[in-house]
Each structure stands twice: as structure tokens, then as C-alpha cells.
Symmetry: C2
Subunit: 189 residues, 2 copies
DNA sequence: TTTCGATGTCAACGCTTGTTGGCCTACAGT
DNA sequence: ACTGTAGGCCAACAAGCGTTGACATCGAAA
């Protein structure tokens, strides 16, 4: 049989440097202000290399915005701590990886990024919500409500940077927001 | 005394057409993709007129993003219906005027627009929250939490357009989101 | 009727953008 | 030692951008 994992190419370091610089720029500046030239400069290579490895700016963004929410299995969480678990997880995920911030910023202006955001929350979040056994007829709606509060928190804290939201400690945020998600997940209309 | 209200200029119709087109474009495309040329074409005038009347693209945006939330006096609202009142008001305001959508989209990528968003919520929302007599030490934080849910709702419904959030009827949204805001406003940590 | 400022058009500027193709260089296989 | 190929750089392209200044036209005041 042929080797399934292609052996490391000499250019892998460059590819990774480009991707890292791209995520930083997309997260800080959004899709249109993050120029290929600036990204290439950050990665200390020529702009044409970006084209060679990722085809186009859109291709680069698609690669840079690849993301897995790594949501925990909600069926294994005590039913009354679903909200708390989710907020904690999201906060940790946002703070530790700027990919989500890049995606969020870009989703405001770039149709492709918005589509990606929809897929991310439709596939991963809705799937996780469906996983703990609620009425299938309401899961999509519950997931949407959770998304509205979650993305709103990210938007005000990491994008617009509203001072009171930025200054709140993660634990305080958990305390306030967890009951909201809990009700969206398990409450009745 | 001199006349305080300058009499209508002949160009007022043009100015208004530019502003209307600008709001549409900024709301639909964001700051950088909304070009002066496209706005001028929508308003059926020459791009140079935009410069003459608004100085620069930034000046045009500043004029187009002028906005008053028109928040009601919360002191006159029954204390147990604060959340409901706010959601209803916000939904009506979002749906009726695309200025807020323009500001929201632009705030993701344009630093000036983000600053404007901060001012809007610091001045108008925090002021309204302070107006119904809560502990002054917690008003900023409560307003921030309200902003996180409110902007998150707007972001998912009007910008990213997550299907489940788009499809929910305003009344259903009120029913779900009102208790959240109510707790952020009057609940204890 | 003349005049003059306000209103509007036209063509061009300098700059930045994504993208392309040619060329040089280094290294792995023979 | 030779050669082919992958990695990398350079210079340039066409297109689009915000912005500018010169010129035409209209409408009201003199």
C-alpha cells in the first residue's frame, strides 16, 4: 500500500508561518484590510508564495478559518450545569485561539466568511445541542438562541471591546451568562 | 437676531440622496466594500459631489452613522417588564432603520466605527439603565451585559443571518430574550 | 441683462490591491 | 559531478480605490 501520510515537505514551515500570520491579520483587521502583502511581510516571505500555496486570498482565508469548536459531549454533563459548561468552554476557546476572532470579524463583511460561520454553528453547535436529548423540533431554535448570546459576548468583548464587558473577569461572566444559556437549552417558552 | 434655521439650500435633496444611498451600502457591504463610486451611482450623481458635501469617506460615514436609539424612559416602565420593553424596542428599531446595521457591520473592521459603537452604548444605553434607579456601582456592567445579548441578537439575525434566528417571529424572540435582559437589569449576581 | 456664487460634470492623479510569469538558487536522486 | 525539481524572489500587470482641480451650467440677486 502507498504511504497515506505524505512525508514532510521542505516548505511546511513556510506554509505554517503564512497561516499563522494570516490568522493574526484577519483577526486584527478583518478580511479586506488584511492584505496579502502585509501577511507575507509578517511571515517574512514574498507575497507570491501565498498565491502559490493557497491559490488566492479567499483560499488563504478558507485555510486560516478552519476551526473546530471542540464542544464537549453535552450528554455527559449534569443537566443543570449545561449553561455553565458551555460559557466556560466558549470563553476558553475564544481566549486561546484567535481563529474564531478572525472568523467573526470577517463574517461581518465577507459573504464567504458569513457562510462559514453559519455552517460552524449549524453543524457543530446545533449538533451538540441535539446531543443531550431535547425535543428535536426545538433544537435548531435553542442553538440559535445560544449562538445569539455567545456571539454577542464575543462581539462586545473581542471585536467592539465595550469596556464593561472587557473588564469583567471570566468567572463573573460565567456567573451572569450561564443561567441565560441554561434557559435557552432547557427552559420552556 | 440672525435666522437660526438656515433656509433650505437647493442641494438638500442631493445631500439626502447621498446619505440614503450611503446607509444602504454601508449596511449591505460594510465600510471598505462600500465604495464612494457605488454610493454616488446609487444617488445618481458624480463621486466628487460626495467629497464636496462630506469631505471624505470617513466624513460621509460619520454623517450616515449618526443615530439615536430613542430608548424609552425606563423609570416609567413597570419594573417587571423592563426586559420585555427593551427587546421590543430594539427589535423595532433594528427593523425600521438600517443605520444600526450599517454601524454594526462597519464596527467590525473600522476602528472609528467601533469607537462610535462604544459611545452609542456607553452614552445612550448605560444612561437609560442608570435612569431607573439601580445601584450606580453595577449599572455599567448591567448595561454591558444587555449590550452583549442585544448586539448578539442583531449580529446573528441581520449580519450573519443564522437561519433559526432569522426565522423566529419577533414575538417569539421577545418571549425568549426578555427574561435574559430582565435578569441582567434587575437580577443579583 | 449682467454677474456671481452655488451646483454639478469630467478627466485625471497617485496609490494600493490581488495576481502573474520569469528567473535565480539550493538540494535530492542518480 | 550532473540534473531535475521544488522553493523562493523580483518586477510588473490591470483594476479599483479615494481624492483633486479645472471647467460647464443654472438661478437668483443687482
Amino acid at each position: 500500500m502507498t504511504e497515506t501520510a505524505p512525508r514532510a515537505r521542505r516548505s511546511d514551515a513556510t506554509r505554517a508561518a503564512i497561516l499563522r500570520a494570516a490568522r493574526e491579520r484577519f483577526a486584527a483587521d478583518g478580511y479586506e484590510r488584511a492584505t496579502i502583502r502585509a501577511i507575507a511581510a509578517d511571515a517574512r516571505i514574498d507575497p507570491s508564495m501565498v498565491m502559490r500555496y493557497y491559490g488566492s486570498k479567499e483560499g488563504l482565508f478558507a485555510a486560516a478559518a478552519e476551526f473546530d469548536l471542540r464542544l464537549p459531549d453535552l450528554a455527559a454533563v449534569p443537566p443543570d450545569r449545561l449553561g455553565e459548561t458551555l460559557v466556560r468552554h466558549f470563553l476558553a476557546r475564544w481566549e486561546g485561539d484567535e481563529t474564531l476572532a478572525a472568523l467573526l470579524r470577517a463574517a461581518s463583511t465577507n459573504p464567504g466568511a458569513a457562510e462559514r460561520m453559519r455552517l460552524l454553528f449549524a453543524d457543530q453547535l446545533a449538533a451538540a445541542v441535539a446531543g443531550f436529548g431535547t425535543d428535536p423540533a426545538t433544537t435548531a431554535r435553542r442553538a440559535g438562541l445560544v449562538a445569539s448570546q455567545t456571539l454577542g459576548l464575543a462581539f462586545t468583548r473581542y471585536i467592539v471591546r465595550l469596556p464593561p464587558v472587557v473588564e469583567m473577569a471570566p468567572e463573573d461572566l460565567v456567573e451572569w451568562v450561564a443561567p441565560t444559556l441554561q434557559r435557552y437549552l432547557t427552559g420552556r417558552p
